[in-house]
């Protein structure tokens, strides 16, 4: 029998065995025993955040940008509840993450002890799975199981709650113990007969469209996606989270559809005779009115999660499996074709419905800033965003050419994601250029993490598209609430440049259109974090737009045809 170790030591060793080298967290009473042994593990770097939500989003950003499992630490009670928004964000977007929380001592559980919350109860709906560890002997196995569950199948966040006195208990740890999770199956290949049937549909189709979702990125299937699209000459529409799964400068790239997507992408889906959905869940922002969505087409749905099949849109064939493996199965069966007239038609849709024309203006428009960012960085930066107008402009006007370079809270729509997720992205990709495109609303939800950035000298570049408004709220109140504008104007915004400087971060303000490009270049050159405050047009709507629950027939292409 090996020598027994402290529960907290087992936590660290199991994390290291899972190839974890950085964790994001903030201590508190119940998790102090874990922090008490951190100095023994030099391979485990701890990044001290200012708020637990920041730890969760940073772990999420680290995960999305590296494909590894991000880790967050928080204490019991308020520390743990502060993680919840971050867990829910990761859950909705299938991001692998492990959160470790301290809990009050075993004897005090259920007694309303100081800083006690039933966090496994509270996080049931926002985690893929969670654990309350009741003895040190179980810690190692549970951590390995948690990582396996987090990163396999349809990934997601897993929370492990460890009482204070379990950290300090001596326990056994066998890193080589085989995991046994009965009933947890990870699909790989799809059923051969179904694959063959799907390939026949593809070979027969005259107007096929691929809808590439987040699943392509999660399974790292971008090469396979390109191969199959090129072989059968199928236009590729991505989802918002599928952005960067397919190079946007590729001739077959047909944008992204839905509420604020390109009109030609929505029209392509509507006019197709076959939709091949690789790893998208037919989200309501794409589908709108289910009864009127893409009625002309047969549908093939490839997904690793069987519960997604026919959840909203009824499909003709379902292939359950890992996207990368399933495309590999399909590739030899799919015939080389040209689809010339369909591709020509798509090209015509693109020229008839340009969708991304930036209105002429002497003032700075958000779209213009993003376009300049895209040109200046040649589409090579990792881009984080918050949620709202700036998010849509970022997704529309940045030309993503590298796989996995777009980090955004698509499902939960978490404002404030932009500040800490960039921390995770930069920590996970030390040599790469990370730009976070922020709204002035979301930025103020998590701006305390500027301290974390300054402390670690992370060279993240923040572009605040500052219009002193909750812009998307202004837009919706204008379009759908009789222009009754309520609670959407920010008259008390701080001076963001001075704010950055207060943290020791370089701040640049841009109020003139002519200075946009130079500011971006200056920020890129600066060897450290930069905050650029772009003072943009106060009121400017995002187009195209398909109002919620509607169809492509109600598509509004621009301000002149509202």
């Amino acid at each position: 029998m090996k020598e027994k170790k402290l529960g907290s030591q087992i936590v660290c060793e199991a994390l290291i065995n899972e190839d974890v080298n950085v964790v994001f967290g903030i201590p508190g009473g119940a998790i102090l025993p874990l922090y008490g042994v951190l100095s023994q593990y030099e391979d485990l770097k701890h990044i001290l955040v200012r708020h637990e939500q920041g730890a969760a989003h940073a772990a999420d950003g680290y995960s999305r940008s590296t494909g590894k499992v991000g880790v967050a630490f928080a204490t019991s009670g308020p520390g743990a509840t502060n993680l919840i928004t971050g867990l829910a964000t990761a859950m909705m977007d299938s991001v692998p993450m492990v959160a470790i929380t301290g809990q009050v001592g075993r004897a005090a559980i259920g007694s309303d002890a100081f800083q006690e919350t039933d966090i496994t109860g509270a996080t049931l709906p926002v985690t893929k799975h969670n654990y309350l560890v009741m003895k040190a002997d179980d810690i190692g196995e549970i951590i390995h199981e948690a990582f396996y569950i987090a990163r396999t199948g349809r990934p997601g966040p897993v929370l492990i709650d460890i009482p204070r006195d379990v950290f300090t208990e001596l326990g056994n740890y066998d890193p080589k113990k085989q995991l046994f999770i009965p009933g947890y199956n990870v699909p790989k290949n799809a059923d051969d007969n179904e694959v063959e049937f799907a390939s026949k549909l593809i070979n027969k189709a005259n107007k096929p469209v691929i809808l590439a979702g987040h699943g392509v990125i999660i399974s790292k299937a971008w090469d396979e996606l390109r191969l199959i699209a090129e072989k059968a000459q199928i236009p590729v529409v991505t989802t918002l989270l599928g952005i960067s799964s397919f190079p946007e400068n590729h001739i077959l790239s047909t944008g992204w559809p839905g509420m604020h997507g390109m009109a030609y992408a929505s029209l392509a889906l509507d006019q197709a005779d076959l939709i091949i959905n690789f790893g998208s869940r037919f989200d309501d922002r794409i589908v709108g009115d289910v009864s009127r969505f893409a009625k002309r087409s047969k549908k093939i749905h490839v997904d690793i999660d069987p519960a997604e099949i026919n959840k909203s849109v009824q499909v003709d064939v379902s292939l359950i499996g890992n996207i990368k493996d399933v495309i590999t199965q399909l590739l030899p069966l799919v015939e080389k074709t040209t689809h010339t007239s369909w591709i020509n038609h798509i090209d015509k849709l693109k020229s008839d419905h340009p969708s991304l024309e930036i209105p002429k203006s002497d003032r700075i428009l958000g779209q213009y800033v993003v376009k300049k960012l895209s040109d200046t960085t040649k589409g090579n930066a990792i881009i984080c965003s918050g949620v709202g107008q700036h998010q849509m402009w970022a997704a529309q006007h940045y030309t993503f050419t590298n796989p996995n370079s777009w980090l955004s809270s698509g499902g939960l729509g978490t404002m404030g994601y932009e500040v800490p997720s960039a921390i995770g992205a930069q920590v996970g990709n030390p040599g790469k250029l990370v730009w976070s495109i922020c709204g002035d609303g979301g930025f103020q939800m998590t701006l305390m993490e500027l301290a974390t950035i300054a402390e670690n000298n992370l060279p993240i570049k923040y572009a605040i598209l500052n219009n002193n408004h909750l812009g998307m709220i202004t837009q919706w109140q204008g379009l759908f609430y009789n222009q009754d504008y309520q609670a959407e104007t920010y008259t008390g915004n701080p001076d963001f440049v001075k704010l950055a400087e207060a943290y020791g971060i370089k701040g640049i303000r841009v109020s003139k259109k002519d200075n946009v490009e130079n500011a971006i270049i200056e920020a890129n050159k600066h060897n450290g974090p930069v905050l650029v405050d772009f003072v943009i047009e106060k009121v400017d709507d995002v187009y195209p737009m398909i109002p919620a629950g509607q169809s492509v027939n109600e598509l509004i292409e621009g301000p002149n045809n509202v």
């Binding site: 009965p182 009933g183 999660d305 519960a307």
Partner: protein, 192 residues
């Protein structure tokens, strides 16, 4: 969403761990399912429990319940057995008024239903009945005239039939068939 409320019987093999029921209940609650009945007990396999639940909800939503349940890590196996050839039983304890005047009448009914009398007092007796829901409902209806003091029902347990060819009744399991056939036409998705 339609108002077409449907009942489905689901059988699940689950890890015998704290919190499993909360996970399942949470999933039902979130998706607006009402749990009509739920039974849990240790299964034949070590560390695993068998749950049978009958859930109610709009048909299009309820039909997806198996797939959603299967995603829970602690659920090892789940089957929607609503349309399958199943044997299902429920146990009830019924405490009914029975004094010296009415006792013989109550016992007469009990005899017809072949129930066991598990407790008898001066003013009441308690009977144990097992069978399908309608058989139990019929008994309850008949006992109402005497005054029912308490009813305890376990909810449905169900299992797939073994060797019988679906739809055939060769009388091998006559005692089981008897139980229900005397009183109801068995329909797996019968309503309360």
């Amino acid at each position: 969403m339609s108002n077409n409320i449907e009942q489905r019987t689901i059988s699940a093999l689950v890890q015998d761990k704290p919190g499993v029921l909360a996970r399942i209940a949470g999933l039902f609650r979130r998706r607006g399912f009402n749990i009509a009945s739920l039974t849990v007990g240790r299964s034949e396999q070590k560390g695993l429990s068998r749950m049978t639940f009958v859930v109610e909800g709009p048909q299009e939503v309820v039909c997806k319940v198996s797939a959603q349940l299967d995603k829970l890590i602690d659920i090892v196996e789940v089957q929607d057995i609503t349309e399958s050839n199943i044997v299902w039983r429920e146990l009830a304890l019924i405490k009914v008024n029975a004094d010296s005047v009415s006792r013989s009448k109550v016992l007469e009914i009990a005899n017809i239903f072949r129930v066991n009398i598990v407790d008898i007092g001066v003013e009441s007796l308690t009977m144990e009945i097992s069978g399908g829901k309608q058989k139990i409902n019929s008994l309850i209806e008949l006992l109402k005239q005497f005054g029912i003091k308490e009813i305890l029902r376990t909810g449905r347990i169900a299992t797939l039939r073994g060797t019988l060819i679906e739809g055939e009744d060769d009388g091998i399991f006559q005692s089981e068939q008897d139980n229900d056939n005397n009183f109801i036409i068995p329909t797996e998705s019968g309503s309360v």
